[in-house]
Symmetry: C2
Subunit: 137 residues, 2 copies
Amino acid sequence: MATKQNIEEGSEFTPKFDDNGLIPAIAQDAKTGEVLMAAYMNRAALDLTIQTGYATYFSRARQKLWKKGEESGHVQKVEQILVDCDQDCLVLKVTVDAGQCHVGYQSCFYRALKKGTSKELEFIAEKVYNPKKIYKK
Amino acid sequence: MATKQNIEEGSEFTPKFDDNGLIPAIAQDAKTGEVLMAAYMNRAALDLTIQTGYATYFSRARQKLWKKGEESGHVQKVEQILVDCDQDCLVLKVTVDAGQCHVGYQSCFYRALKKGTSKELEFIAEKVYNPKKIYKK
């Protein structure tokens, strides 16, 4: 059993999966630092990511392994996997091409809450590709 | 009821809280782009964050609102709140002082999986403060 001390200060990778067997994983552009997306991994997805060097997540909607880019071609080459203090969240530093979000933007975080409002979003990015051309199904 | 189209392409902020009433929130240094931590917010935490301009989370361990820095003094001034395509994850661009992680590092992500291994972490940062001096309880 890993102690708090070991988990936080140790050098053994003991990722903590939640009650559903998932750990959140944040993909960050290794070059620009832009946060591209956040998703979840189960043990198998994490193992595949480590083994192949390309990000594989677990789709909660489809309840299956999901290699990022398997349909769109927009894969994520994993340069580094970071883990946080309590080892219940991962950051993946990834190298990517243009268009990581299925809506057409480079990042899924293409909108920001407008200053002084609590309900209004403003778009802070432009689309970088046409998803209709890529997702044919 | 918000449609997928509205959620993804619209300008209404309709954050989606999970079955536990929580939404993940990633704090990113507004200047450097470094991912500092990942935590959760409930509706009240998000409202307080928007109203006060300082990050408030919901501590799952303590089951209560947690203003970041209430004990350590290491608050997060929120410059911008981003939301992702399906509005179930937030990125907070924050301005911070030194030492965001309770272990003593600037970021909670101070370790990375060593290349070619699946279980060994290497430290990629140095401590920036002594947590024993700050957390007196």
